[in-house]
Amino acid sequence: MPAVAETIETVSAVTEGGYKWGFETDIETELAPKGLSDETIRLISAHKEEPEWLLAWRLKAFAAWQNMTEPHWARVHHPPIDYQDIHYYAAPKKKAPKSLAEVDPELLRTYEKLGIPLSERAALAGVEGGQVAVDAVFDSVSVATTFRETLAKAGVIFCPISEAVREHPELVRRYLGSVVPAGDNFFAALNSAVFTDGSFVFIPKGVRCPMELSTYFRINARSTGQFERTLIIAEDGAYVSYLEGCTAPMRDENQLHAAVVELVALDEAEIKYSTVQNWYPGDAEGRGGIYNFVTKRGACRGRRSKISWTQVETGSAITWKYPSCILQGEGSHGAFYSVAVTNNHQQADTGTKMIHIGANTSSTIVSKGISAGRSNNTYRGLVRIMPKAANARNFTQCDSLLIGDKCGAHTVPYIESRNPTARVEHEATTSKIADDQLFYCRSRGLSEEDSVNLIVNGFCREVFKELPMEFAVEAQKLLAVSLEGSVG
């Protein structure tokens, strides 16, 4: 096939062309000394002027972490991580600014390069009411938060979690660690001990958040692991859609990221959490790249509450991530929509857990894995029906697409049912792009590349349609860049 030569060229152009977002911002950062100890944690806590209870909570998590071992059950391989060789705290030197005018211009330019609409007027063109509030996280400290006033009017709290600790301690204290306990797993415990910042969202009873909330994460300073902590609470009848997007500058050294995201949905509340993850995946030889070990979990505590996780994972050298739903409230619903793309030497082990506790709970899982190059892509998911979950319902679909003969696609679902009235269905397929589909497109005059894009986009459509519009556009572009030309 003549397309092969063309393809190889395009692939090398794309992969060797390098990571589009791999620039580095030169801002002086304040680093804590390398290493992890009670002192580091006290230092982080003191820097952030935290109350005593939070320091105690961190220290407890650290004590738990010290007795834990790094999990190795996932299908990812990496050199051992030296947890003592990492800076656990890095902050831009200046104090957090009060307004945009005070923001370091260098930082603003960085965001501009990433295309973040930080300015309040930069509502996305052509989208009616399409305002997006951004809580930008630059390394570990939230630098600026926009749209504060609009949100405040609606009674929505959207701020850095460190600020929430000061301003709304009762809320933070009540919910922090209530979904992902401090000692939940190795990486969550580490995060609990050293988290530096993240977002806090509180939607009061009956409020529909007037805009989509968004956080862009960046990992910037050399050897700075990022330990984000996000907490979102939707009270009775509240609704919020939250977007998380990531890019990181190019590095040779591997960087550790261990975030924790907790969602709480009370009666009839709904939380939509969408992620586009595009961290540096390492180069074509598998050098560098982000190690991403994330714990994301949502608790549907209230009746008929809903939580949905939508993710498009194209970046990171290693992805270890299982956004989960605890379906406790009667009639609550959990959803997981995922597109995971791996290329070159990337390794992704991602999936979800749906724990059905309450009666009439339902969940939907749609996972699309695309492997190319020498990568490995694993879906790992659990559906557990507890004895009281009468009439629970789950539908799971996992599809994998293989592009090239050096990659791997794996599916590891766990299904546990302890209630006879529950119905669980699971289907999975693995295939390559069908020749007849390609032929169909080509015979209608589409180029090979366009055909592949069209087919891959069709393969992922069920997930993309769950994304907010602006994100769906970004996701499609990312997918095209990640895979362009990798089919022959």
């Binding site: 090239g404 990659c407 599916t411 590891v412 766990y414 006879p420």
Partner: protein, 431 residues
């Protein structure tokens, strides 16, 4: 809690290891293989639920039992009286059959085939090559203590007809029997055989067989299995099949016995164009726990495999299915299929399943599906509204659920054996 469990399992494991120590000089076959197995078994012990492969199946019930083995006793494995009682429960057959009692071949009760050769493992003790996972603790346990087994070989081009392999077990609480037969079956190029394996018994015993099957080019094996062990017995079976090019393995199993059962099927599809089918139905009630673990490795191009596992679970029983299709780089054009369905008929019934795909080749078609649920109330209503009593309506629907497995059995006598077992199971249960 988990520490206590490990300790109890460890004690059971030490009992087996000590027995090996005592018997070692008298056990048949290569002592080196036994020593290696013993070292592995001592290091690994009996697996507990921290072991990913045993995540859903705890061997803890083994820990409370004192096993005495037949341990190379000079006398008969079981008395004539017990033998007759057990044989009476086996389906009648006129053809060749091999009868094992507590793991030892009973020549007096067996009828040897005429067209191919059968020997006993005690006379021809050979262990399989590296493809048998000796590092698996239960295989190591078997290798360490195997005393007997069937060594069957059907020469090239021969149609061996039907061979029945009957495994009878008997033991008492407090002095439970344990036996670890090592069976080996080779089919030469183009050879054919229908092997009907039936395991049944009375009382408390552990049946831990390892069967190695090698299928030559174009060979064809129909393998029917009925596992109907005593409700207090333990059945931990491992089957290892290797297929050469164009070989066919067509397996049908019905599992309705044992207190704790685990049937592992490991298949290496090593030759181009080979085909494999593993069909299993498990009928479980009371406190039973039964586990089907099937690992199919596609190593050659253009092969197909099919796993279909059906669980019918009632009482407090637990059903487990762990299935894996692994496709190596070389195995292009693989067609892999895996289906796992479970019917839960009582509030306390439980099913755990893990249908896994591991794929390293791009031009393949692999899919799996799993469903769990109760009997469809609409279907029940349909039958009831036409005057079918509740119990019969339920039986009818369960029978329909199993039809896919039973109706496909290509061997008439074998199909009747399996169908009778299903009917008997149903008759005995007040559902």
């Amino acid at each position: 809690m988990s520490v206590a469990m490990s300790t109890a399992l460890q004690e059971a494991a030490e009992g087996f290891a000590a027995r090996y120590q005592r018997l070692a000089p008298r056990l048949p076959g290569p002592a080196g293989a036994r020593r290696r197995a013993a070292a592995i078994f001592r290091a690994r012990g009996l697996p507990d639920t921290h072991d990913e492969a045993f995540r859903f199946t705890s061997l803890r019930p083994l820990a409370g039992v004192t096993f005495a083995g037949p341990a190379l006793a000079d006398g008969p494995a079981v008395t004539d009286e017990v033998m007759r009682a057990l044989l009476a429960r086996a389906p009648a057959t006129e053809g060749p059959r091999l009868v094992f009692a507590n793991g030892r071949l009973q020549a007096d009760w067996s009828r040897l085939p005429e067209t191919f050769r059968v020997a006993s493992f005690s006379a021809e003790p050979v262990f399989g090559g590296e493809e048998i996972a000796e590092d698996e603790p239960l295989v190591a346990l078997n290798t360490m203590l195997a005393e007997d087994g069937a060594v069957i070989s059907v020469p090239e081009g021969v149609d061996g007809g039907t061979l029945v392999l009957l495994s009878l077990g008997a033991g008492e609480a407090g002095r439970a029997a344990d036996f670890h037969p090592r069976h080996r079956l080779e089919l030469g190029a183009g050879a054919r055989l229908a092997l009907v394996e039936i395991a049944l018994g009375e009382g408390v015993y552990l049946h831990n067989p390892v069967m190695e099957i090698g299928l030559g080019a174009g060979a064809s094996l129909s393998h029917l299995r009925l596992q109907n062990e005593s409700a207090r017995a333990f059945h931990l079976a491992r089957l290892h099949v290797t297929l050469a090019e164009r070989a066919l393995y067509d397996g049908y199993s019905l599992v309705c016995g044992a207190r704790l059962a685990r049937s592992e099927i490991h298949a290496d599809i090593a030759g181009e164009g080979a085909r494999l089918a593993v069909n299993v139905a498990q009928l479980l009630d009371g406190e039973r726990h039964a586990d089907i673990t099937a690992v199919v490795r596609h190593m050659a191009p253009g092969c197909s495999s099919r796993q279909a596992v059906k669980n019918v679970i009632t009482g407090h029983a637990q059903g487990v299915f762990q299935g894996k299709i692994a496709v190596a780089r070389a195995a292009q054009k693989t067609d892999g299929y895996q289906m796992n369905q479970a019917l839960l008929l009582s509030d306390e019934a439980q099913v755990n399943s893990k249908p896994e795909l591991e794929i390293f080749a791009d031009d393949v078609k692999c899919s799996h599906g799993a469903t769990v649920g109760a009997l469809d109330p609409e279907q029940l209503f349909y039958l009831r509204s036409r005057g079918v009593p509740e119990r019969e309506a339920r039986a009818m629907l369960v029978r329909a659920f199993l039809a896919e497995m039973l109706d496909g059995v290509p061997h008439e006598w074998g199909r009747a054996v399996l169908e009778n077992a299903v009917d008997a199971w149903w008759r005995d249960r007040p559902l």
